[in-house]
């Protein structure tokens, strides 16, 4: 750009009134516009104009020739000089510049977008990782941790997240440990109670037999010991059972049976046949692979519960649901289960009144029922019927297509 423009292309026109002379012979001097001429006529200053003729640009300079008059006033002599300087080189520079800018802009824009994306990704990736990690924690994978990179705010956040997760994991592990210890303790206690109870249970019949021959006070005391020993044995039995479920040591002994027959036998074994209305399918209509002993416990607990806490008539229904499961319903006609109790009926030792009055059962009956159904892969729910009374509904998979024999669950 600093290059000196060769002056060879410069052209000059000198005009006085109607006379004019040009530096090149017969130069039409097209660049001189009437505007410029007029501007030079009306003033004493030099005038510049950029003129576009066709495809090239020129700078035209117009200048009146003046002389000094009185009191140094400038007086136009009437002679005007015009100079035309072609600006092709400048135009080329400008064009080149524009082209250069154009060429540079697109890649620069692309680069900028790319850089922006990278920067965004740098921020978004940790945020996304954080989101995944949070969800993972929420789903119970408490050992989830984030990789901490760099030392920005996100790294800080990740670090805090990791600390929180570690603290949470520790607390949960501690709680689980406490729960496991509590359950272990219950299992150990019931285990230890078995031997003295075995001795006591062996002699309750002797006490019962001889009580009649004792004086009334002693007889009452002896009968009391006998009765309570039987109850204690049952409670310990239930505790052992629930401990086995907790330890995952409950084993299903599956056998294919006629479910209606099983239900009938459960009622007959406990002399409930006349107390319960039944809606059972014909023989062999609903066959399934179940643990007969556990099914007996389930039905006995539900029907026993209905007879004890509900009111008659109590109804026991069995049907196949057409999707490979059996549905067993136990309905009673009592007052139903209070709404605030309903969610807790399958919990251990849950008593609807806080006084913890002792009932006939161990307080574990429905919890054991639920566990027995769960090891079968079935479900149980309790509800109140609109027409009154409670209904317990059991869904039990029939597993008729599965291979045989003792499955550990």
């Amino acid at each position: 750009m600093a290059r000196a423009e060769p002056s060879g292309n410069w052209r000059v026109l000198v005009a006085y009134e109607d006379l004019s002379a040009t530096s090149l012979p017969d130069d039409p001097f097209d660049e001189l516009t009437p505007d410029l001429r007029e501007a030079v006529d009306s003033g004493l200053a030099t005038v510049f104009q950029r003129v576009n003729t066709g495809d090239h640009t020129s700078l035209v300079v117009g200048m009146p020739v003046t002389f000094a008059g009185e009191e140094n006033r400038r007086i136009a002599s009437g002679v005007q000089v015009f100079l035309t300087v072609p600006q092709a080189t400048e135009q080329r520079y400008v064009d080149a510049l524009v082209t250069a800018v154009e060429r540079a802009t697109v890649p620069a824009l692309g680069l900028a977008v790319l850089l922006a994306l990278l920067a965004a990704r740098g921020v978004l990736r940790p945020v996304r990782a954080l989101r995944h990690a949070t969800r993972s924690i929420a789903e119970g994978r408490l050992d989830t941790r984030l990789a901490v990179n760099g030392s920005d705010e996100l790294a800080d956040l990740s670090h805090t997240f990791n600390e929180t997760a570690a603290a949470l994991e520790e607390s949960v592990a501690e709680l689980r440990g406490m729960e496991a210890r509590a359950r272990r303790f219950a299992a150990d206690v019931s285990h230890e109670l078995r031997t003295p109870l075995a001795a006591m249970s062996a002699v309750t019949d002797v006490l019962d037999e001889d009580a009649a021959r004792l004086d009334p006070d002693t007889a009452t005391a002896v009968r009391l010991i006998s009765e309570e020993t039987v109850k204690l044995a049952r409670l310990v039995d239930d505790l052992m059972e629930i401990s086995r479920f907790d330890a995952g040591a409950a084993v299903l002994h599956l056998d294919e049976i006629d479910l209606a027959e099983s239900l009938r036998r459960t009622l007959a074994d406990r002399a409930w046949t006349g107390l319960v209305d039944t809606e059972l399918p014909p023989p062999d209509a609903v066959r399934g692979r179940v643990d007969p002993r556990r099914l007996d416990v389930v039905v006995a607990n539900l029907v026993g519960n209905a007879l004890r806490h509900g009111a008659r008539p109590v109804r026991l229904c069995l049907r196949a649901d057409g999707e490979g499961s059996a549905v067993i319903e136990v309905l009673d006609s009592g007052p139903g289960i209070p709404d605030d109790v309903l969610p807790y009926v399958f919990e251990r030792f849950y008593k609807s009144d806080t006084a913890r009055t002792r009932t006939e059962g161990s307080g574990l009956g429905l919890a054991i029922t639920a566990e027995n159904i769960r090891v079968h892969g079935g479900t149980v729910r309790a509800a109140n019927r609109p027409e009154g009374g409670a209904v317990f509904t059991v869904e039990l998979p029939l597993r008729r297509d599965e291979p045989a024999h003792g499955e550990h669950l």
């Binding site: 001795a199 062996a202 059972e241 084993v251 003792g406």
Partner: protein, 240 residues
């Protein structure tokens, strides 16, 4: 209440139990029921008493110090194939039950057990030995099924002419199944007929007993000829 039956001789019970209180309690209760009871503290002592006491039935605790109950059971079976053996197991020792049954026990009770329940089981296992005999009146009635001969009156089974000594449950199971060749018995039916258990009893008793019976009858394990498994339904006896 139920004293000793005057007509029957008092069943002799050998009780093997390590806990003193349980041993004394059970022995007391069984004596009150009319049994002649010998109590042993260890398996070794129990095996010793087997010869001198000559029990009609053994009540064997599986959890014993020293020689384990399962080994005692096997040793007793080696001495006497036909001796009725009743296992007593603590609740929760579920695995031992199967092993005990495979070792040759006829039945089991879960402790704590009330005297009348134990008594009922003892009576039931003894009935397996005596019941069939008394109904047939002692007249030999021998059914033959291929190489197997079953003397329903005399309670003896021979296979290829060689006597097969059977434990009470095994004998009663074979008699029940072979009485109706071809008929399918469910495990529950067999529990009621052979063991006098409830419909919801432990079907592993049946499976273990079938296994022992097949082994004693020299059945090929893959394709049993006499006692066949009917999948989903139970067992049947077929005469080859």
């Amino acid at each position: 209440m139920c004293g000793p039956a005057d007509t029957e001789p008092m069943p002799r019970v050998l009780l093997i139990e390590d806990d003193r209180a349980v041993r004394e309690g059970v022995a007391l209760a069984l004596r009150r029921q009319g049994h002649d009871v010998a109590a042993a503290e260890t398996g070794e002592e129990g095996l010793e008493r087997l010869r001198s006491f000559r029990p009609d039935v053994v009540v064997l605790d599986l959890m014993l110090p020293g020689m384990p109950g399962l080994d005692v059971c096997r040793a007793m079976r080696a001495l006497d194939q036909t001796l009725p053996i009743l296992m007593a197991t603590a609740r929760g020792d579920d695995v031992d039950i199967v092993v005990g049954l495979e070792a040759g026990a006829d039945d089991y009770v879960v402790k704590p057990v009330q005297a009348r329940v134990l008594e009922a089981r003892i009576r039931a296992v003894l009935r397996r030995v005596t019941a069939a005999a008394s109904t047939e009146g002692g007249i030999p009635k021998i059914d033959t099924y291929g190489e197997l001969a079953v003397d329903r009156a005399g309670h003896s089974v021979t296979w290829r002419g060689v006597p097969v000594p059977l434990a009470p449950s095994e004998l009663r199971l074979l008699l029940t199944l072979s009485a109706a060749p071809g008929q399918v018995f469910s495990r529950q039916q067999l529990l009621e007929a052979v063991w006098e258990h409830s419909y919801h009893g432990d079907a592993r008793l049946v499976d273990a007993c079938v296994g022992r019976l097949r082994a004693k009858m020299g059945e090929p394990s893959r394709e049993p000829r006499y006692i066949q498994t009917v999948r989903g339904f139970g067992y049947r006896f077929v005469s080859p």
